[in-house]
């Protein structure tokens, strides 16, 4: 910088000041974004969101405040219209158990096995209210997404025979508590809890589920 003439030195100083300010503001915004709701975020939450979204969104509550203590299995069954016009309902397919088997002994689990269904079901849960009504655009998108995943997976499991059509699908979750460690002396109910979603009609032509 010393090798610069005065006007260029002023320019360099200005750049230094701008970079310093932007870096500090950015770090401040990220801090407020990851911090719990507080006085500043209540007053300036909109400014923080404007800065952070969409590209600097982040969530580092890794297994915090508490790790998940339940296994949430997503299961699906289908109503199938056979080629002779009859209709039958399949048994429940445990798609999470399929994921679990694919992950077992796998040093490099794929996002398709570890994240796709698990996070889609999370997304569905977080975009629907307690009564199961979709909340806004995200609710509608989540329902289509989950439906498309289960249709794809039913196709892979050959739920519908040749010539049959998937007419409707129904998803349920089976929640089982992880048994507490034996040294803790805690007692947790080992009875699974079910949550059943409504039947969804599979639009004509979508029964193949897209990707094979």
């Amino acid at each position: 910088m010393a090798a610069l003439s005065l006007p260029y030195q002023v320019g360099a100083a200005a750049v230094l000041a701008v970079v310093a300010v932007v870096a500090c503001v950015h770090l401040g915004m990220v801090f407020l974004h990851v911090a719990p709701s507080n006085t500043l975020t209540r007053q300036h939450g909109r400014a923080v969101d404007e800065w952070i979204y969409p590209e600097f969104e982040q969530n580092w509550k890794l297994f915090a405040p508490n790790p998940l203590q339940q296994n949430i299995a997503v299961q699906v069954r289908a109503e199938i219209r056979t080629s002779d016009g009859a209709s039958r309902t399949t048994g429940w397919y445990d798609l999470s158990a399929e994921d679990g088997r694919a992950i077992d002994g796998n040093p490099l689990p794929s996002h398709t096995q570890q994240n796709e269904l698990r996070r889609a079901f999370d997304f569905y849960g977080s975009s629907h209210d307690a009564a199961g009504r979709p909340m806004g655009l995200r609710g509608a998108l989540a329902e289509q997404y989950l439906r498309r995943i289960v249709v794809l997976r039913l196709g892979r499991d050959h739920a519908a025979g040749p010539g049959d059509v998937l007419a409707r699908v129904q998803v349920r979750s089976l929640i089982t508590s992880v048994p507490p460690p034996r040294w803790s002396g805690e007692k947790v109910s080992d009875k699974p809890a079910y949550r059943q979603l409504p039947w969804w009609t599979v639009p004509a032509g979508k029964a193949a589920g897209g990707v094979r």
């Binding site: 360099a12 750049v15 870096a23 990220v30 297994f63 915090a64 296994n71 996002h111 398709t112």
Partner: protein
């Protein structure tokens, strides 16, 4: 007062005259691009299901969401299968070339485009590892991460040697790459396909124009003053981005740690037991059972994790404690990679940790790698590594900001 002014001016001199931490920035360049490269290769058979136009999260669903949140993705510019395949392959290629440090700045931009495009296209298939890569791919664009351990450094050394003899190293690839990418950017902008918020398009245009100015200033002798100014700007931006990367790593640990303190399971010392028994995070159930067979062991790991995460940012003020904790964190992430089945998340976190590694250690690592390569090739004269342009990298590393 005068000592304050002195140290201030020393500090300003330091951040303006050179791009600091050449080895650390090279390590994170290699680490993040390598992680993404391995991830893309691993998911290659599943690419259609994750990011393809007919994926469960299909093109229409993705478009509705991104129109709503303004996220940037080139995958929504066109719908066809060919476009998707091309983008996936280009993302692979950009990661590989960034890893090698070929045209590092341009590749860092293309690498960022690949990461943002795929991740923003299907946000709901990602996890913490994707999140780290997403942020770091943007930050890397602002760094001079090819000063060492790169093809660019090798070419710069050759150019310097030629210049000493009064010759020039001709550069054809640079202008061609710049023109092609500029044309593509102009075409996409003119066609109105650049979607998303202003930030990424503005960044693309800024880097493109900046490269033209840098190139022009390097060619004209009369442009000596602007050239020095651009060099200062490059260094200042690099140093600012490096500060942001380091602070981001601290924020990750601080957030993870401080939220855990509030959790009852982290307080009663059983927290680590639970993820080991989740079906989605237990690829080796027997290993999990073994690790959780002792309550004391689980308690020690549980408390140790929280303490290490909370303490990490503060240990940066003491070089020795920082290095010990760094080793602890890297070991823990290596264990997480295997035990919880999160290899790419762990690799990304280990890379983020690596920005704090001391320079002497990294230099030894580099020399060891060069020797190993030379032995393989039986070319003993090629053991010398390209040196960074900046002076002062032989100084002992400083805490947090190793020279």
């Amino acid at each position: 007062m005068s000592t304050l002014a002195q140290s201030l001016s020393r500090g300003i001199g330091k951040v303006t005259e050179s791009a600091l931490a050449p080895y650390q920035s090279a390590v994170i360049r290699i680490g993040f691009s390598g992680t993404w490269l391995l991830f893309l290769l691993r998911e290659f058979p599943h690419r259609q299901e994750l990011y393809g136009p007919d994926a469960p999260w299909n093109w229409d669903l993705a478009r509705q969401l991104t129109e709503n949140n303004g996220a940037f993705t080139v995958l929504l510019w066109f719908r066809g299968r060919f476009w998707f395949e091309a983008v996936y392959v280009l993302a692979l290629l950009a990661s590989a070339l960034l890893l090698l440090g070929w045209r590092t700045r341009t590749m860092s931009v293309l690498f960022m485009l690949g990461v943002l495009s795929l991740q923003n296209r299907s946000v709901f298939v990602g996890d913490g590892g994707d999140n780290v890569l997403h942020l770091m791919s943007v930050y890397l664009v602002f760094t001079r991460c090819g000063q060492v351990w790169s093809l660019d450094a090798r070419r710069a050394a050759r150019a310097r040697a030629l210049r000493a003899r009064g010759q020039r190293l001709p550069d054809r690839a640079g202008p061609v790459l710049w023109s092609v990418l500029g044309l593509a950017l102009a075409a996409v902008t003119a066609a109105g396909r650049l979607q998303g918020e202003w930030f990424v398009p503005a960044l693309l245009w800024t880097v493109w124009l900046g490269q033209a100015l840098w190139w022009a200033a390097g060619r004209r002798a009369r442009w000596n003053q602007p050239r020095i100014l651009f060099d200062v700007v490059g260094s200042v931006v690099h140093n600012g981005a490096l500060l942001v990367i380091m602070a981001e790593a601290c924020l990750i640990y601080a957030t993870a740690g401080w939220y855990k303190i509030q959790g009852s399971r982290w307080q009663d010392g059983t927290a680590v037991y639970y993820p080991l028994h989740l079906d989605y995070f237990s690829p080796w159930p027997a290993l999990g059972d073994l690790m959780s067979s002792s309550g004391t062991m689980v308690m020690l790991v549980t408390y140790g994790t929280v303490m290490a995460q909370v303490a990490f940012p503060f240990t940066l003020f003491n070089r020795r404690v920082k290095n010990v904790l760094l080793a602890v964190m890297m070991t823990e992430h290596a264990a997480i990679a295997v035990v919880l089945g999160l290899p790419f998340f762990s690799l990304a976190m280990i890379t983020a940790d690596a920005v704090f590694l001391p320079t002497p250690f990294l230099r030894r690592l580099g020399e060891g790698a060069a020797r190993a390569r030379a032995r393989l090739r039986r070319h003993p004269e090629s053991t010398a590594l390209p040196e960074p342009r900046s002076a002062g990298d032989s100084e002992p590393a400083r805490v947090g900001f190793p020279a």
